[in-house]
Symmetry: C2
Subunit: 208 residues, 2 copies
DNA sequence: ACATTCATGTAATTAGTTACATGATTCG
DNA sequence: CGAATCATGTAACTAATTACATGAATGT
């Protein structure tokens, strides 16, 4: 059961290609994504199970198969909309890197990561801000709330990046917390591991 | 290659069980997650490829296999840390629902979703705020920045939920944008689909 | 003694992407 | 007329979870 497809079809009857475009460039792209390799088989399955059906194409230009929701499809969608959403799992490679960063590493690399993130987030923010103003998109009353959310979060993120870059460049980082001297231990483990390798690579040196 | 495992091992030599705990209760849980079914095979693979090796257990109590990074493992980790992180894909079921919400639906259900989200986010925020203060966790200088980020975002999110619930209950929603009367079309498509089904279910009625 | 937690793993399943294949239509 | 885009699909592959199985050590 893929409810995100039913959700897209609820706006208007769409082809697989349309759905992909919706996930790529439009509103849905902010919170979901899907490739052709997923979309077409899912459409087949949803059709077989009676949630959607194929409309006749209106013969204008290109031929494509538009899918429309059946009564069963609308009911399934609305049941899903009413069911409690799972808490989103954040999987952010930037923060995994930040968390594992260690003192021996160059902080200019980290600043580079942060600035890249800022650029990307600013682009998305601009897209969101312009999108309700282009005068052609359909955004219902509740949809406006989601836009406001993305604006809020992205602005907070960008502000955090600026502040963090400032702290890193001015070397005014907050105090670390290390009650067991783990930072020292980590540096030693790393040093030892890297030294052992150097010896393995050039074992003769000791004897010369 | 699973760098999140190397990242966890960089803090301290750990068993598969330890790694799972790290992803479950600790810092890493905010930005990553993994099940046993992934962890143990990955550890085997990383060992075979020479990124990690098994330490002898220190025979105190339970026997477990701790893994430590090799020189190759440290180098791989640091290369990954320096490589540009991908922009995170937000997959948020709450916002997929909000985006597909339609006017015929009961807004109290939506308010319920929002309040559930608020509770969950508040719990995480509390965890984050307490965690540097428990006096036992290791958090390095850069790690503090990631904590600050999560605080910032979660606080912004909670504020947005409060504001949104207020708008919904007071019925002061922002104006929708619907240049092509799509909202009306959606309501009609839905009505028609559901009526057709009602007729199918009870076709005799027309003849009586 | 019994339940819980610690600890490691595998098999089946699910879900997804990537790369490829194919061809029609439209635009410049 | 050739390039770009529209349009649909499949096969191979990758990545992950879930459910199951097993058993030892610890806490009550």
């Amino acid at each position: 059961m893929d409810h995100s497809i039913l959700a897209v079809l609820s706006f208007r009857p769409s082809s697989g290609y349309d759905i992909k475009a919706e996930f790529e460039h439009k509103a849905a792209s902010l919170y979901w994504g899907m490739s052709y390799g997923s979309i077409y088989p899912k459409l087949k399955k949803l059709e077989n199970e009676g949630y959607i059906y194929a409309l006749e194409s209106d013969s204008t230009g290109r031929k494509k198969t538009l899918f429309e929701l059946t009564a069963k499809g609308w009911e399934e969608l609305e049941g899903w909309l009413a069911s409690p959403p799972a808490y989103p799992v954040q999987r952010d490679e930037l923060f995994m890197r930040i968390a594992a960063w260690h003192d021996d590493m160059d902080s200019t690399t980290l600043i580079g990561h942060l600035q890249k993130r800022k650029t990307e987030s600013k682009d998305i923010l601009q897209f969101i801000k312009e999108w309700p103003r282009n005068g052609t998109s359909y955004i219902n009353v509740v949809g406006m709330l989601a836009i406001k959310y993305s604006e809020t979060i992205l602005e907070a993120e960008i502000k955090w990046v600026d502040e963090t870059v400032r702290l890193l460049t001015e070397n005014k980082l907050p105090a670390s917390q290390d009650p067991n001297g783990l930072g020292e231990k980590i540096r030693n483990r790393r040093k030892k591991a890297l030294q052992l390798e150097a010896e393995d690579e050039d074992p003769e040196r000791l004897d010369v």
